[in-house]
């Protein structure tokens, strides 16, 4: 197998004195979608933040495109080709839809013209955003805001996209709409890490799956091979758990 585009090696970390991650090994290959599942508090978001340089980690713990990049500040990770759709969307309040997108364009890995993603293309994918491009972000619905958050991440022209709970709090119809564009993203050569609480959704959308429990990886394998019982055991940490 080729070298992974992104990998972590015995990654440990947390907030201040509180350790939340205990040696995470994870690999992501080019064009692949992996999903990271686990209960609340398993450490999934902490893991993404550690990879992205938002929490302190040692350089060798994160390798990206062959280089040790652990602890590199987030804005430099964006230049290298990482992007994140953060949990809770975290859009820039007080700015319009298009301004939110332009912040990403201003700081992207590649100029808008040279990358895979342009505003026009995203407005085709999410026509509603085209209609509301000059409206302040606060006027949009939750689903529409999630579309802006995804657009903003894609306009960074990432090679690796980290998605943190993009289905959270959205209506099923909107979730389908959003997940429907994942193949389009991978087709553009971007690899994806999906953090999800919805196991069914995570299995369907990914090639491989990692399950986390209390800061450790408890299960990994091809998404299609893993049974629901295995997942339940890894997810809850007990062998007799009911899925």
């Amino acid at each position: 197998m080729s070298t992974p585009i992104l990998s972590t090696h015995a990654l440990t970390g947390g907030y201040g004195d509180f350790q939340a991650l205990f040696g995470i090994d994870l690999e992501l290959h080019e064009g692949e979608v992996i999903s990271l599942i686990g209960a609340n508090g398993a450490g999934k978001s902490t893991f993404l933040k550690s990879v992205f340089g938002l929490l302190p980690v040692a350089p060798e713990m994160v390798r990206y495109d062959g280089a040790a990049v652990g602890g590199t500040p987030a804005h430099r990770m964006v230049r290298r080709g990482l992007a994140m759709v953060p949990e809770g969307r975290r859009l820039f309040v007080g700015m319009t839809v298009e301004e939110n997108m332009r912040v990403a364009i201003d700081n992207a890995r590649l100029p808008e013209g040279e990358g895979q993603w342009t505003r026009e293309r995203l407005f085709e994918l999410f026509p509603i955003l085209g209609e509301k491009r000059r409206q302040p972000i606060e006027d949009l619905s939750g689903g529409q805001q999630q579309m802006v958050a995804i657009s903003r991440a894609l306009l960074c022209q990432p090679r690796v996209l980290l998605c943190d709970e993009i289905s959270l709090g959205l209506a099923p119809k909107v979730i389908r709409e959003i997940y429907a564009i994942l193949p389009e993203i991978t087709a553009a050569g971007t690899s994806i890490v999906l953090v999800e609480q919805d196991v069914t959704l995570a299995r369907e959308a990914s090639n491989r799956l990692y399950c986390m429990l209390e800061g450790r990886i408890t299960l990994t394998g091809a998404s299609s091979d893993i049974s629901r019982d295995d997942i339940a055991a890894a997810y809850f940490g007990a062998t007799d758990a009911v899925a």
Partner: protein, 286 residues
Amino acid sequence: MQWLDAIIQGVLLGGMYAQYALGMALMFGVMRIVNIAHGDVMILLSLIAVSLAGVLPVGNIGLIVVIVPIAVGIGWALQTFILNRVVGADPLPSLIATFGLSIALQNLMLEVWSADTRSLPNSGIASESFQIGPIYVGLLPVIVLICAFVLTGGLDAVMRYTRFGRGLRAAAADTEAAAMTGVDPKRIYATATAIAVGILGLAAVFAALRATVSPSDGSAQLIYAFEAVIIGGMGSIWGAFLGSMVLGVAQAIGLRVDPGLGILFGHLVFLLVLATRPEGIMARKK
């Protein structure tokens, strides 16, 4: 007629306040950094200007050309070495840090320049005035007002339409999310403070031309700048300009009522705005 005169003088005074308030609008209004040393930095720049004028015969325009880059450097250093370490949701650390800096600066200025009041040599424009009907208007205050207007328009456009402006607004709205979108918050904040103090450099030269300055004058400038920003509405650049006008007019009218009431009227209008429209007169309704 004397009230019309008061309003005109108030607007002209507001022009001076607007120059103090613009930097504050950027730092306090947008970045939410409480900089207690704002007024002292301006006085420092005024005193540097006065001292330089004695050595370098460059004229007033030349003085601005020299002072503004110094101000930009001070602003950048202030943000990089002090304020970037204390920014955050809690305003107390930045308040305390800049409070300490303010005391240190005030007393440093006392050591260097003594408590005497100083001003720039009275050149032509400072004393010229012209007449509109029965009202006399000083030329310098009009220049100050025009400069403030142009600066406000320019800063507002920078905030709206440039990469820097978008990045700064993004970082102010959500620092971590901005970093995830490729913005370097520390660098953009340093640039913003450099701009804010740079504007203060211009204001410093005008302040020394218009009137006298002494090391202890900083806190008055600070309170007017804060009032103007809050009256106008946090985050709004034009709001700070308008707030300065409101403050200037209130003070000028108070001064006509009784010479002891000028500044008090300004404070009362500020408290009135806080009581009735705490989000400021220019703020977008939520």
